[in-house]
């Protein structure tokens, strides 16, 4: 039955979301984003998240460049990038990432370069995980929409 496909996909999505909440990867702010999505702005969540990915990748690259610099002394600049990343992460509900940023910032304030490097690695790791999971979520959503469309044909 066609209906099963959509229901199963919805269940998969919910399970994935529940997992991410349980792991502390996402927090309630992500739900707020979903609540802001409606017919007038049907792709709001993925639009915001894609902007977030784009920005974050730039920031991560900058951070790595800064830290790898042999003549490194730019803790202030690191702080600026981190504040940006922290802000945007908490804006989309990426709680665990935001927390890593806090730890990273502390290390940078203490001029602790090895600590910063470790924090950067952790940040990159967290970011990859989040990106993969959110992509998975969006794919499920797309499939769910398609499955629903087969049963209730509607304009996409």
């Amino acid at each position: 039955m066609l209906g099963l496909g959509e229901d199963r996909l919805r269940a998969d999505m919910n399970r994935l979301l529940a997992l991410l909440f349980h792991q502390g990867v996402l927090d309630e702010q992500f739900l707020q984003l979903q609540q802001l999505q409606d017919e007038s702005s049907p792709n709001f969540v993925s639009e915001v998240v894609n902007i977030y990915f784009h920005e974050s990748e730039k920031l991560l690259m900058n951070l790595r460049t800064l830290l790898m610099d042999k003549e490194f002394s730019g803790y202030k600049k690191i702080g600026i990038h981190l504040n940006q990343m922290m802000g945007s992460s908490s804006s989309i509900g990426a709680k665990r990432l935001a927390n890593v940023c806090v730890a990273f910032r502390t290390a940078s304030q203490l001029n602790n370069r090895p600590g910063c490097l470790r924090a950067l690695e952790l940040l990159e790791h967290e970011y990859c995980y989040l990106k993969n999971k959110l992509h998975e979520l969006f794919q499920l959503e797309q499939q769910r929409i398609l499955a629903a469309g087969v049963r209730y044909p509607r304009q996409m």
């Binding site: 984003l33 802001l36 702005s41 639009e47 902007i51 977030y52 920005e55 989309i92 509900g93």
Partner: protein, 236 residues
Amino acid sequence: MGMAAAESQFHVLAVDDSVIDRKLIERLLKTSSYQVTTVDSGSKALQFLGLHEEEGDPQTNPPQTPCVSPTNSHHQEVEVNLVITDYCMPGMTGYDLLKKIKESSSLRNIPVVIMSSENVPSRISRCLEEGAEEFFLKPVRLSDLNRLKPHIMKTKIKGQQNLEKLEEESEETQFPSPPTLLPLQEQQQLQQPPQSQPQPQQQEQQPPSNNKRKAMEEGLSPDRTRPRYNGIATLV
């Protein structure tokens, strides 16, 4: 644009250097039925509000330069009912922007709300003391926006009362008596092509510096009646 049209939607100017936060606040505001303009810096916000740096000096300020005419790229007058701004921005911070707005006799009546991702009590009280109506912690929620309406309404009601008062007073004098509080929508009324009101007197008048005018209790906006033939493009 008359009073009736202005009543239907309130226009909020949102200022934030973060792309994501701009998108968020725009969505939040639109969902709450506000008209929204977003800019990414304090200086662009001031430009949009029509505030020029050289506003203080009447001599160097050429008569044609609109001082209080927020415009969009179509050179229409756009009224701003509230400014909501991030605190931490490079260059001009939200606090600096707040100060500039409150120091401007033309803009000081616009309610300003500050947003910040950090909960710093001294920062919060500093902003409130400077005249901010509210201080929101980020991420801002839909429920936070419910607190905006009272501040916007307060300004509109005041404006309405003062407009009525002005209409009474204008019978008595040919000179522009220091006008009482006039938010932009009332200003637009005065600007309408000759209506039966004797207001045209004030329209012709070249406004002297805002700063040099002594403010009355409710605050002044002496150059509300400055003719605005030039618009400035909105930079966002």
